[in-house]
Assembly symmetry: C2
Homo-oligomer: 189 residues x 2
Amino acid sequence: MLKSVEVNVITSNENKFKELDSIAKKYNIKLKWINLPKFEVQSDSLEEIVRSSAVIAFNMIRSPLIVEDSGLFIEALNNFPGPYTNYVRRTLGLKGILKLMEGIQNRKAYFMTALCYVDEEVIRVFTGKVVGKISESIRGDKGFGFDPIFIPDGDERTFGEMNIEEKNKYSHRGKAFEEFIKFFLTYIS
Amino acid sequence: MLKSVEVNVITSNENKFKELDSIAKKYNIKLKWINLPKFEVQSDSLEEIVRSSAVIAFNMIRSPLIVEDSGLFIEALNNFPGPYTNYVRRTLGLKGILKLMEGIQNRKAYFMTALCYVDEEVIRVFTGKVVGKISESIRGDKGFGFDPIFIPDGDERTFGEMNIEEKNKYSHRGKAFEEFIKFFLTYIS
């Protein structure tokens, strides 16, 4: 059993930390930002990537921690770019994905987050998903990553056309983190 | 200094082992095949990937070893698919790359291999490259990976249209391995 409820979050992206922290505060869970890039293995599975990242990080810092990773999975492209979403954003960009999708009717896609919690006693992976489709064109300049070409089900706008509160209603990262919190509150009680 | 000249090769691809072994035999270097997938970190740099793979493998088997990784780097696509070549082959395939290259004049690309040797005393990375271009269509059914859409400079045929001896004349993997051998023969003498 844990003595403290402080949990370290390993990420070099301050916005991700802030997004999680704004949720954690509602539950009185204290997060601490560790500004480090996570060590990532090559794998088709986000769960496997965060699990190995988290174990490696735990072997260094030896206190409870979270690692998360997110990706865009496009059905007609065999789930490409999946775990390599950041790399593909930097190389092919939004236009590259739209080019690959030219003439393809099935535009189904989802964003997914996998989040791993580790401490001395447990290792658990939680996931969150938002299902939607790839837009026909780039729309909006808000958000980051592939937000301007992703339309969540139940909306007509891309994530790039939404402000942060609107986007958070759908957030895959938020969903994964809420799953963690459900577990964690029981675990520490 | 090494007592023996046996070097382990970590790969789950028997063809890669055979390709290296056929070269090693000419120099009287004994290779031993360890049939294991290598542990791969996510990185834009093949050198970094093989270096970390090799160190991790050495911590397990504790005897001299080699790990190699290869990728296709396309100039007009910011070097995509690079270190994620196998993943992109499985998801987008040959047609996906040709679609991304539609209407693009600059078709320059290269295949590169990075190969890391580790023992108790040294860790060294060697590279080999073959420069060429992406073809306009899929041609030939020999080889593997992206061979049917890659034309090496100095030839008109794709790697997919060449037999193994013809392809080996250009081989990036062979070049990297020859670099290793140059080092190794001096090292053990």
